[in-house]
C-alpha cells in the first residue's frame, strides 16, 4: 500500500523521498495511527507531503491506491503485498529515485539491506498487531490489512501465477489516471477515424460513392462523411503491436478500436499483443496471453516488408527491460528487448510508435527516450495530430 502510494506520488510529481517513506514505515511500526484508516491516511499525508499545493494530488493518488486495493477481487491485501517482486520494485526504484537517493540506498548497504530493514520493520509491526487488531483481522475490507505483511513476502520469481498477478496489480496502479490529459477519446474519435481511413486508402485511386456518402452522413448524425470507393483494391497492410497489461490499457484499447473500425479499409490488418517491450513471443488473444504464445520469429517470417508496423504503448519501463537480457518483468528473456525491436524495425522499415503518454511528460521517463532513439525518432503522441504525423511517416 505505502510503497504504491509512494511511487504513485512520485509519478504525480509530488517529491516524496525515500527518507520520508522510511519515516512513514517507522511511524506505522510505532503505531502512530491508532487503528483507523483515516488516521493512517492523515499520517501518510503528514509524512509524504510538505507543500500544501500538493495536498490535492496526494488525495487523488491516495484515492486511487485505496480504490485499487478494493478492486482486486478475490485477492486479499495481504496477498497483494506479500507478492511484491523485489526485482520489479528495484526497477521501479531505478526509474523513480534520484541519484542522491540511490546513493543513500548504497550507503544503507544496498537494496538487499534496505529490503531486509523493510521486512524487519514490517515483521515487528505484524508482531505488535497480533491479536484482534482490526487492520489485520478484517483483510479485504480494510486496505491497511496490507500491513499484515508476510515477512517472507519479498521474494523473486514466485511460481508463475502469483508472480504474474502481483505484477499486474502493480502495473495497474503505477500511473495516475491520465484520462484528462490524453486527447484521443470518444469525442474526437470520428475525426481520427476519418484520418485513418484516408490513410488506409492511400495508393488507391478513388471515386466518390454517392449512395455510401449519404448513408454514412445520415448515420453520422449529419456530420458529412464522404465515402470513396477504391478503383483498385486498397493497398495498405498494417501490423499492429499493442502493449497491454498496464495502466494505459484504456488508451491503447481506444487505439485498437480505432483501427478495427476501419479494418475493412485496409488490405490487411493484423494485431499482436506484447507487454512493455517486444520480446521473443507475442500473443493474439489477450485473454489467453499465457497459454497461446506465438514466437516473434514466426511473426517476423510471416509478413513481408511492405507491411506497415505500428507499435502502441507507453514505452514506460525500467531501462533494464530494454537493454538487459533477463530484464523483462514477467519472464526471463534471453535476449534484450532492444534486439527484438531492432529485428522488427529491420523487417518492416515503415514503422512508427504511438504513445498515449502526453508528449510533455516524455522527458521524465528515460525508457521513452531510449525507444524513441531505437525507432529513430518515429514516436508520436496518441493525439489527433500525433496520429496524422504518424500516418504521414508511414507512407
Amino acid at each position: 500500500m505505502f510503497l504504491r502510494l509512494f511511487f504513485g506520488l512520485r509519478e504525480a510529481g509530488v517529491p516524496a523521498s525515500l527518507l520520508e517513506l522510511l519515516t512513514l514505515i517507522e511511524a506505522m511500526a510505532q503505531r502512530v495511527p491508532a487503528f483507523s484508516v483515516d488516521d493512517a491516511y492523515h499520517l501518510a499525508r503528514a509524512t509524504l507531503v510538505k507543500d500544501e499545493r500538493h495536498l490535492d494530488r496526494f488525495d487523488r493518488v491516495f484515492a486511487q491506491v485505496y480504490q485499487g486495493l478494493g478492486e482486486a477481487a478475490g485477492e486479499t491485501p495481504e496477498e497483494i503485498l506479500a507478492d511484491i517482486p523485489e526485482a520489479w520494485l528495484r526497477k521501479l526504484a531505478e526509474k523513480h529515485l534520484s541519484e542522491e537517493e540511490k546513493a543513500r540506498i548504497e550507503a544503507l548497504g544496498g537494496w538487499e539491506e534496505l529490503m531486509e530493514t523493510l521486512k524487519k520493520r514490517l515483521a515487528e509491526q505484524q508482531g505488535r498487531h497480533q491479536g484482534g487488531n482490526k487492520w489485520i483481522g478484517t483483510a479485504g475490507t480494510s486496505p491497511f490489512g496490507a500491513y499484515g505483511y508476510n515477512p517472507e513476502g519479498i521474494r523473486i520469481g514466485q511460481h508463475e501465477s502469483r508472480h504474474r498477478r502481483a505484477v499486474k496489480v502493480w502495473d495497474k496502479r503505477e500511473f495516475k489516471n491520465l484520462d484528462d490529459t490524453v486527447e484521443l477519446g470518444t469525442r474526437n474519435v470520428k475525426v481520427a477515424l476519418r484520418r485513418l481511413r484516408r490513410f488506409a486508402r492511400t495508393g488507391a485511386a478513388t471515386e466518390l460513392d454517392l449512395d455510401g456518402t449519404i448513408r454514412a452522413t445520415a448515420h453520422n448524425g449529419g456530420l458529412l462523411d464522404l465515402k470513396m470507393v477504391p478503383e483498385r483494391h486498397n493497398a495498405v497492410k498494417v501490423l499492429l503491436f499493442l502493449d497491454v497489461g498496464g495502466s494505459m490499457d484504456d488508451h491503447i484499447r481506444t487505439c485498437e478500436e480505432l483501427f478495427s473500425a476501419v479494418r475493412g479499409e485496409f488490405k490487411h490488418l493484423e494485431y499482436y499483443y506484447f507487454h512493455n517491450c517486444l520480446y521473443e513471443f507475442v500473443w493474439r488473444d489477450n485473454k489467453r496471453r499465457h497459454t497461446e504464445r506465438i514466437p516473434t520469429h514466426e511473426v517476423l517470417r510471416t509478413y513481408p516488408a511492405d507491411y506497415k508496423l505500428i507499435f502502441v504503448g507507453d514505452a514506460s519501463m525500467s531501462p533494464y527491460e530494454i537493454v538487459y537480457p533477463g530484464g523483462a518483468v514477467e519472464h526471463w528473456n534471453r535476449e534484450p528487448g532492444e534486439a527484438w525491436l531492432r529485428r522488427a524495425l529491420d523487417t518492416w522499415p515503415r514503422a512508427v510508435w504511438l504513445n498515449p503518454v502526453p508528449e510533455r511528460y516524455w522527458g521524465y521517463t528515460p525508457s521513452i527516450g531510449m525507444i524513441g532513439k531505437i525507432t529513430e525518432g518515429r514516436m508520436f503522441p496518441l493525439t489527433l495530430s500525433g496520429l496524422d504525423q504518424a500516418m504521414r511517416a508511414l507512407l
Binding site: S17, L19, T23, A27, D39, A46, T47, K50, D51
Partner: protein
C-alpha cells in the same frame, strides 16, 4: 526516547482536527519536528502551548525575526561584557563560561519541566522570517539534538528530545533537506462548524442567534474582493467578545446586513483603514 508516551487529542481550549492530532502524535512519537503552516490567525502559535499543556510539559518559545541566526539558538559569546569586566578587574573574567549565553535550543535541550517530566515543547515561531539559510543551519542540531560549544569545549546534548513545533507563514520557501525531516501539517481555514467550536471554547456563554449572525457576516466579509487583510480567527474572536461585552443584539447585525451598513464594531474585524473604506464603499452601493 520520545519525551512522552501521552497522546495529543486537543484540549479544553483548543479545537484540534483529526489530521492535526495525527500529525502532532507522529512528531511526538518519532521525535521529529512538526512544521505547521496556514493563514495568519489559524492557531499555529497557540498550538505549541496547547501541545505542551496536554503533554504536561513546559513550553520554550523562540520567535524568529529577520535578523535571527541559527547560532543565536545555540548560544552567544558575550565578548563585550567580558572586555568590560576585564577592564574593571572582575574576578570571573578568566572563566569564559561566564560569558556564554545559552540560546533557546540549549534551554530546550536541557530543560526539565515543572511537572518533573524531562523534556519540553520547543516552539520555533515563524521560521520563514529568517534568511533562507536558517533552516538548513539548524538541521544538524535538530537531527542529533546536540551541539558543541567551541569556546568551552563542552557538548550540549538533549537527554530527552524536546517536541519541536515550527510555524511558517509561507513568506519563503523552505529548503527540501529541512522539509524531509519534518512532519507537515497545513491548517486549513476552519469551516463554519469548526469555527463555531473554536468560538465556544473562547466564549462559552455566546448565544446561538448572535453566533449565527456573526458567522454569516464574518464569512461574507472574507469573500469581499480586494481586502488587504482578510479577517481571521483571532479578529473574529475579538469581535465576538466585543459584541458580547456591548450586548449588541443579533437583530443589529441582521439590520446592518440587510441595510448594507458596516456591522457594529467592525473595526475589530478590519484593522486596516483602507479595508474599512473599501468595505464602506461597497456597502453604500
Amino acid at each position: 526516547m520520545s519525551a512522552t508516551e501521552a497522546r495529543f487529542s486537543g484540549t479544553a481550549t483548543y479545537i484540534a482536527t483529526e489530521d492535526l492530532k495525527v500529525a502532532v502524535n507522529a512528531a511526538v512519537t518519532l521525535s521529529r519536528p512538526l512544521l505547521v503552516k496556514g493563514e495568519p490567525g489559524t492557531g499555529k502559535t497557540v498550538l505549541a502551548r496547547e501541545v505542551a499543556d496536554s503533554l504536561g510539559l513546559d513550553l520554550i518559545s523562540w520567535h524568529i525575526k529577520s535578523t535571527t541566526k541559527a547560532q543565536h539558538g545555540l548560544y552567544e559569546y558575550d565578548a563585550v561584557s567580558r572586555l568590560r569586566d576585564s577592564q574593571l578587574g572582575e574576578p570571573g573574567v578568566k572563566e569564559i563560561g561566564n560569558y556564554i549565553r545559552p540560546g533557546r535550543l540549549w534551554d530546550a535541550f536541557t530543560h526539565v519541566s515543572g511537572s518533573g517530566k524531562a523534556g519540553c515543547v520547543l516552539l520555533i515561531d515563524e521560521i520563514d522570517k529568517a534568511d533562507i539559510e536558517f533552516p538548513n543551519d539548524l538541521l544538524l542540531e535538530l537531527d542529533r539534538m546536540e551541539f558543541h560549544v567551541h569556546e568551552t569545549g563542552q557538548t550540549v546534548r538533549a537527554e530527552t528530545r524536546p517536541v519541536v513545533i515550527i510555524t511558517s507563514n509561507n513568506e519563503k520557501e523552505l529548503p527540501d533537506a529541512f522539509l524531509r525531516r519534518c512532519f507537515f501539517h497545513y491548517i486549513r481555514f476552519p469551516d463554519v462548524e469548526t469555527m463555531r467550536a473554536i468560538i465556544e471554547v473562547h466564549h462559552p456563554g455566546v448565544k446561538d442567534d448572535l453566533l449565527a449572525e456573526a458567522l454569516g457576516l464574518f464569512y461574507g466579509l472574507r469573500e469581499v474582493p480586494g481586502l488587504k487583510k482578510r479577517p481571521s480567527t483571532s479578529e473574529l474572536l475579538d469581535w465576538i467578545r466585543l459584541l458580547m461585552a456591548d450586548q449588541v443584539p443579533p437583530s443589529a447585525l441582521k439590520a446592518s446586513r440587510e441595510e448594507g451598513r458596516l456591522p457594529p464594531l467592525s473595526g475589530a474585524l478590519l484593522k486596516n483603514e483602507q479595508d474599512l473604506q473599501q468595505l464602506d464603499r461597497l456597502a453604500r452601493r
